[in-house]
């Protein structure tokens, strides 16, 4: 049951609903009463995206290339733009991203809403060969009325590394899901995210990492800032299967709630079926530290300056883990803009 299937078949019962445990905080069945018509092809100008790269792959209204393939041993930086330039219609897209042995890719992915109430699902099938390295930076800028799902299924070979940072401001309802098949064997995964939400926006960052073999690492850090009536969802699941000894996995999710009517739902899960592992998770949801705010004010900062500084610093930890320097700069600017907007 997925949104993509519902869009393809027109069958509302295919929509994920709150009755599915993994979708209980991001109900689509209860939200969508009628499936909209298919999005039209778009051949207009979509302007520039947030990332610059030598090579750009653009998918508009579900139409565009179906594959990015990096041959063994090659290194590339690719901007992937997923643009919705349609109002009141629905579409889905599927893209495969393949890295050959030892290949390196920086994927600068943007989801750009250029109209109001579109309904979309974007699926990525990502496959990394031995010792390949992918850093995926995802900047999601949906319209407040949009309902979107981005779903990535990632398979790693031995020695590969997959680093990901998702940055989102949410949508009417939005789910960004990443599922990683982790072989262990020296492969390394970093799965980070930041959701900065205001008004009535919703963002759901869901991840599942399955460690199937020994000696693999996963490091995960997600931070959220929600205000107004926004709602953030974090579901992180790390599974360490029998025999995946020597696994090291750390998961952190920390959220700031800046208004009484905002909400954060978090479900961190470690499912461990073997003994010789080092796994830890930390989860906190709270407000800014008032003592720290007084300290900053005693030094001369007005309250709004102190709050903005502490909030930006809170999210900054995620941004600083981005390796690609240009993307890190863009992420920093995005954080400032999201936290500053509407003040």
């Amino acid at each position: 049951m997925t949104l993509a299937t519902a869009i393809a078949t027109g069958d509302l019962t295919q929509l994920p609903s709150r009755r599915d445990e993994d979708w209980r905080w991001t109900d689509l069945r209860g939200l969508i009463r009628v499936l909209p018509a298919a999005s039209p092809a778009f051949d207009g100008d979509v302007g520039a995206g947030p990332f610059a790269a030598d090579e750009t792959v653009t998918i508009v209204n579900g139409h565009g290339p179906a594959a990015i393939a990096i041959p063994a041993g090659e290194a590339r930086t690719v901007a992937l733009r997923v643009v919705a330039a349609t109002d009141g219609t629905a579409h889905a897209a599927r893209l495969s991203v393949t890295l050959g042995q030892g290949a390196r890719l920086t994927l600068l992915e943007s989801h750009e809403g250029r109209a109001a109430s579109y309904l979309t699902q974007t699926d990525l099938d990502v496959s990394l060969g031995e010792d390949a390295a992918l850093e995926r930076i995802v900047l999601v800028a949906d319209h407040a009325e949009a309902v979107t799902i981005v779903d990535a299924a990632v398979t790693l070979a031995a020695g590969a590394s997959f680093d990901q940072t998702i940055l989102t401001a949410g949508a009417r309802r939005q789910r960004i899901e990443t599922r990683v098949s982790h072989p262990g064997q020296g492969a390394a995964v970093r799965l980070d995210g930041a959701y900065l939400l205001r008004d009535q926006r919703h963002a759901d960052l869901t991840t599942v990492v399955t460690h199937a073999g020994r000696d693999g690492t996963t490091s995960q850090l997600t931070k959220g800032v929600v205000r107004d009536q926004a709602r953030g969802v974090f579901q992180g699941r790390i599974v360490v299967e029998r025999g995946a000894d020597g696994t090291e996995a750390r998961m952190g999710h920390h959220a700031l709630i800046l208004s009484d009517r905002a909400e954060v739902d978090a479900k961190p899960e470690l499912l461990i079926f073997t003994d010789d592992v080092q796994c830890a998770h930390g989860n906190t949801v709270g407000a800014l530290d008032e003592a720290a705010i007084f300290y900053a004010r005693q030094r001369g900062m007005p309250e709004d300056v102190a709050r903005a500084m502490l909030t930006e610093a809170f999210v900054g930890e995620v941004v600083e883990r981005i390796e690609h320097e240009g993307a890190r700069e863009i992420a920093r600017a995005w954080v400032s803009q999201q936290l500053g907007a509407g003040e």
């Binding site: 530290d289 008032e290 003592a291 720290a292 007084f294 300290y295 900053a296 004010r297 005693q298 030094r299 001369g300 900062m301 007005p302 309250e303 300056v305 102190a306 500084m309 502490l310 930006e312 610093a313 809170f314 900054g316 930890e317």
Partner: protein
Amino acid sequence: MTAMLSIRNLHATVGDKQILNGLTLDVPAGEVHAIMGPNGAGKSTLSYVLTGRSGYEVTQGTATLNGEDLLALEPNERAAKGVFLSFQYPLEIPGVPALTFIRTALNAQRKARGEAEISAPEFLKKARATATALKIDFDMLKRALNVGFSGGEKTRMEIFQMAMLEPRFLILDETDSGLDIDALKIVAAGVNALRGPERGMLVITHYQRLLDYIKPDRVHVLSAGRIVASGGPELALQLEAEGYDRYVQVAA
């Protein structure tokens, strides 16, 4: 002539508890006054009332700086007027490098006073010179403020901020706690370097030790929320020898 800091009949509560009970105190410009007292006398409460921490409610009395009502101002406005508190327990500020924090504070103060922002080169030059004087490793200033610092390092960082912000009125709250003798000497030298005819200081301490290095002009004994005795530096020595017992009884 009114003193630089003038406190009259100050009453304050924390929660439902009356902590300051008619405190009256004058600190003229150019002078260093020490406030000594037993635990629970209201020493930290006084520092928080003067700096405007929420939860510390003034129920009666006045406090002025150069004739201006301090109690009507926001904490950051008081800072811009030149009031600086060296915290007994400085806060950790994750994700904000010390230099960024101090520059943001300095420029906010300057903006509030209608002054131009400090330029980056000028700020860094001043920071390097100040760090050297306080024997602070400059790299430490690039790390998140106070995060993972020892008690002594945090105190030194308070004095560093003080030297960078150049306040007109300094309040040191139990600055000696947790310092070894070498650190105490460095901190005292940093404070003494700021002494001058235009500055006033209030040094709050439980022990006389700090006053060997920061020599006060006057010493006041705070007990049960008011000043119960005042004298010269010899009063501190007497307290060290005899303890606070007689003052606790006077207050009761």
